[in-house]
Amino acid sequence: MISLTSPVETRAHRWPAGPKLGGLCLASTALFMVGDIAVHAAALVAVLALYAAPGPVFLRAGLRSLRVVLPFVAVLLAWHAAAGDMRLGLLITLRMVTLVALANLVTMTTGLEDLVELVRRLTAPLRRLGLPTGMLEIAIPLVIRFTPVLVARAETLAEAWRARSRRRPGWRLILPLTLQALDDADHVGEALRARGGPLGPHGQE
């Protein structure tokens, strides 16, 4: 889900990450303050227009990554329909879709390195206080790496299972999955160490 990467290079890729994330935070917070459906609908249309701007390939990739929220939208709408408060249901789902779309948009158009660089700058004051914030710069991309890897791991395991069984794996893969994930962490730990890991870039110091 978060290996949200754009299939095409957009103009937004060249914008600095700071303002993009800042804008995202502002927009998220603003949307939470506003309770007017019309505003939310307009915001969603605006975000979709942003998706359409770089062309159909980008739009399709963007919509694909939005699919994860659809079940959530359905449940929420059904819930509120049953509770007889459709207005609130619409409001919540509109807001949710817009927020996720906006967050995805920023992620799709921001390189990992730019994001990490941003955190690096934001945590600079802490570093001066002696906190080991260098680790964050490693840890953040790692989480972003591990999440799709965990999903891929589950798929690989399911394929290995299917190659030798016609039953569905279900819960029986939980322990192997956990073990493999822990092994993965060990390997990544070693790979990090081999190439500098938490030392952090030191040329600039």
């Binding site: 998220s28 917070t29 955190v119 490693i138 790692l142 989480v143 591990f146 965990l150 730990g189």
Partner: protein
């Protein structure tokens, strides 16, 4: 050191990945989520400090705008929602779970982990969650507690899963549980 970072990142990712498990959102806006299972596991496997670090790292990424909370939510908005108390309580819950397994010595690692999860992932977490709900939804603390009590059966199930998984880990890979000092059995003989 590198291994610690990798494991912390791994469990943060696990909390995120568990957010992909479909959840049910209750009327007052709090979802039943598998993510608390990730929080319990982080504390029970990694221990207090690293477990809390994993949950905190997860929150940092959410704050950065990544849609990692259950239902694909993210951004600073998540920290003003009715669920914000729970979310902010994740690191504390993981810490408490870890503290429990590290200090309450039981023969069975699985039992320790299960009880630790009940303590950290339920008792401690609900204090945060109910307080958050009380503030955001303008309810009394007591009302808030009765509201969130509906999650208890589900969370007990998650604590049980934590216990079983840790029990199995202690059997096949005891060295991953730093807090579980037990000499490797004969099965751990290396080739």
């Amino acid at each position: 050191m590198e291994r610690n970072i990798a494991q912390i990142a791994l469990f943060a990712a696990m909390i995120a990945a568990l957010g992909l498990v479909p959840q049910i959102t209750l009327g007052f806006g709090v979802p039943i989520t598998a993510q608390t299972l990730g929080v319990m596991l982080a504390g029970a496997v990694l221990g207090a400090r690293r477990g809390a670090a994993a949950a905190a790292l997860f929150l940092l990424l959410v704050a950065l705008g990544l849609p990692l909370l259950a239902g694909g939510r993210g951004g600073l908005g998540a920290f003003v929602a009715p669920t914000a108390g729970f979310a902010l309580g994740f690191p504390v819950a993981a810490f408490a779970t870890g503290l429990f397994v590290e200090h309450v010595r039981l023969r069975s690692a699985g039992l320790a982990a299960g009880l630790g999860a009940v303590f950290g992932g339920i008792a401690v977490l609900y204090v945060f969650g109910a307080t958050g709900l009380a503030i955001v939804a303008q309810k009394s603390l007591l009302e808030a507690f009765t509201l969130v009590a509906v999650f208890i059966p589900g969370d007990l199930l998650k604590a049980a899963i934590t216990g079983m998984l840790v029990q199995a880990l202690a059997r096949v890979r005891p060295q991953t549980l730093a807090w579980h000092h037990q000499a490797a059995g004969p099965g751990e003989r290396r080739l």
